[in-house]
């Protein structure tokens, strides 16, 4: 145990002397938590719309008014021809073209049936999709308004209408920041755990000091604990700092037990530290470790449910997420922070993370060799 004390003492001295590590654990979490959630916003606003109005009637004008009043669209042009509107799309001044045919009013009033044409610039798929569906909803509403006013009501209601009202539980205002901030915190912990520890060990390999350690009677587990403990503590520090930023900047206060969050994070950090160790045993240089870690991180983030819902992934991709520790933590952190889940709710995920911790660390200890 004495040996471990000297190892830890040395490790902490080096960490506190290294300005880049201090920057990593103080500044990176703050910057990422403040900037990323603002950018990672799924709500589509300011969809640019160009309207080609061949009708110029009261009805078409009132419909245009309804669209612009919704707040989701910016009217970037009212054109006379489809070609002019297309030009706007090509110059990226418009995302959607709505073409109102001549006789729009006439058809609507007389035939009680008319058509409009909606063309969508689908280069940005998400924007196009959401923009188009907002527009459809607005047009449907408009249609209903017109009908209520004009079409004589039958004696009994022919069209049975089913009105759906929805409320958003756990995040009543559908505030994406509430959803993103805990997730980004998970990514930060993963980076501190897996990357910093891996880079630190590989650095000792590069300088050659690890050979000096290998020729001393230090036991493998001493060396590994000497590396894990400081980075585990840094991870917990980043978690605390992150929760503080979440509270100060976003007013996010975990609904669930904060102790539970720390318990899960502690276990999770052990798992990702094991991964970091593993990366370090198979890399000879810091570049190799960086590339490997970067590659893994990309997969971890894309397949974690941070940005996209796991439920809507194809089945094979869902299977991949089972092997991604990040996905379990993202789920848990949202459960605890937004929903106030208790130990019973997260025990399955905790079990999985413990298995990750055991497997990754044993694998790393096994493949770390004092002699070859």
């Amino acid at each position: 145990m004495n040996i471990l004390r000297y190892l830890l003492e040395k490790e902490f001295r080096q960490i506190f002397r290294d300005p880049s590590i201090l920057r990593m654990i103080f500044i990176m979490p703050i910057i990422q938590l403040i900037i990323l959630p603002q950018a990672a916003n799924y709500e589509v606003k300011n969809v640019k719309i160009a309207i080609v109005d061949h009708d110029h009637s009261t009805y078409s004008t009132s419909m245009i008014y309804k669209i612009t009043a919704s707040g989701y669209f910016i009217l970037t042009g009212i054109n006379d021809s489809h070609l002019d509107a297309m030009e706007l799309v090509e110059r990226d001044h418009a995302d959607i073209i709505l073409e109102i045919p001549a006789h729009f009013e006439k058809d609507l009033v007389k035939e009680s049936e008319t058509e409009v044409l909606m063309s969508v610039n689908a280069i940005n798929g998400m924007r196009a999709n959401l923009g188009a569906s907002y527009l459809s909803v607005i047009l449907r509403d408009y249609n209903q308004d017109v009908r209520l006013k004009w079409v004589q009501l039958p004696r009994f209601d022919e069209v049975k209408r089913l009105n759906i009202t929805s409320t958003n539980w756990y995040n009543p205002h559908m505030n994406y920041k509430l959803f993103m901030v805990p997730g980004i915190l998970v990514i930060l912990l993963t980076m501190v755990g897996a990357f910093l520890a891996a880079l630190n060990i590989v650095k000792e390999k590069e300088i050659g000091t690890i050979e000096q350690i290998n020729v001393t009677p230090i036991k493998k587990y001493h060396f590994i604990l000497g590396k894990l403990i400081p980075f585990w503590m840094m991870g917990m520090f980043v978690l605390s700092l992150g929760l503080l930023v979440a509270r100060v900047f976003y007013g996010i206060v975990p609904l669930g037990n904060i102790g539970l969050l720390y318990l899960f994070s502690g276990c999770y950090l052990i798992a990702v530290l094991g991964l970091g160790l593993l990366i370090s045993t198979i890399s000879q240089t810091q570049q190799q470790a960086m590339l490997l870690a970067f590659f893994l991180m990309m997969i971890f983030i894309m397949m974690s449910g941070l940005y996209t819902s796991i439920d809507s992934m194809p089945y094979w991709a869902q299977v991949v997420t089972w092997f991604n520790p990040v996905s379990y933590f993202i789920e848990v952190v949202r459960m605890i922070v937004l929903k106030g889940s208790t130990f019973r709710d997260i025990q399955f995920n905790l079990g999985i993370i413990l298995i990750f911790a055991i497997v990754l660390n044993s694998w790393a200890v096994f493949s770390y060799k004092k002699r070859n």
Partner: protein, 249 residues
């Protein structure tokens, strides 16, 4: 004169696939001896030394170091040896004092021993004024002397030095060898590789490796007489020129 043998090596071989790094070498090293382990780059010196230090597992053959078998008890060997590699072995971002403290600590010295060692080493190396400087700020020669002192901080039976004086100026090299003599006089066996033939002259016995084999092993004076050479430099050239293998392996 029959002295205690602290290193016994018999037919020790290490192969990496088809390449045989060290080919069936056999030799003994006596207690307190300064044993020079010479050879051109790529002759297999470092490979042999790493096997003896428990850093690399031999492919075949036998070896015991400080009484422990290299296959069975590599960790026991590590407790009884010091090692200074050609790569720099101190932590540059720790101070002189912190390096001494760290290595003394992991070799199991207790608090008062560490305290004592620290002050005596700082004094011997004239580093009292530099005790709180980061090691990276020291000149190379000072670093190497400090690294050597730290390699023997736990009074090991044997110290392995892999090209300890590479790139060091002649005055510091002389001082370094004085430290080696001092250690040897205190009963520590010194196993040293070098490319400086004047340093080979300082050794009690010298072996010269060529292409993974030991081509010659004797005292420097016997080697010179046998090969009819004036200096160790000439002896080395006569033997090392036989090499078939490419250097810088």
């Amino acid at each position: 004169m029959e002295t205690e043998k602290v290193i016994i090596v018999k037919d020790l071989t290490k192969s990496f696939g088809d390449f045989i790094g060290t080919n069936a070498i056999t030799f003994d090293v006596h207690k307190g001896e300064i044993f020079g382990f010479l050879g051109a780059n790529g002759a297999g010196k470092t490979t042999a030394m790493r096997m003896l230090c428990g850093l690399s597992r031999p492919s075949s053959g036998e070896a015991s170091v400080a009484g422990y078998d290299v296959y069975k008890y590599p960790e026991e060997i590590k407790r009884n040896i010091g090692y200074m590699s050609q790569k720099f072995s101190l932590y540059e971002d720790l101070t002189v004092k912190e390096n001494i403290r760290f290595y003394s600590g992991i070799y199991g010295l207790n608090k008062s021993q560490i305290h004592e060692k620290t002050s005596s080493l700082l004094d011997q190396l004239h580093l009292l004024n530099e005790k709180d400087s980061l090691v990276k700020s020291l000149p190379l020669g000072w670093k190497q002397k400090l690294a050597f002192s730290i390699a023997i901080v736990h009074n090991p039976a044997i110290v392995f030095l892999d090209e300890p004086t590479g790139g060091v100026d002649p005055i510091t090299r002389r001082e370094f060898w004085e430290m080696i003599y001092q250690a040897s006089a205190n009963g520590t066996t010194v196993f040293v590789t070098t490319h400086y033939m004047d340093e080979a002259e300082y050794c009690n016995r010298v072996s010269i490796m060529v292409d993974g084999k030991i081509e010659a092993l004797d005292t420097p004076s016997n080697l010179k007489r046998y090969h009819n050479a004036k200096t160790m430099d000439d002896v080395f050239l006569i033997l090392a020129r036989k090499a078939q293998r490419q250097a810088d392996q």
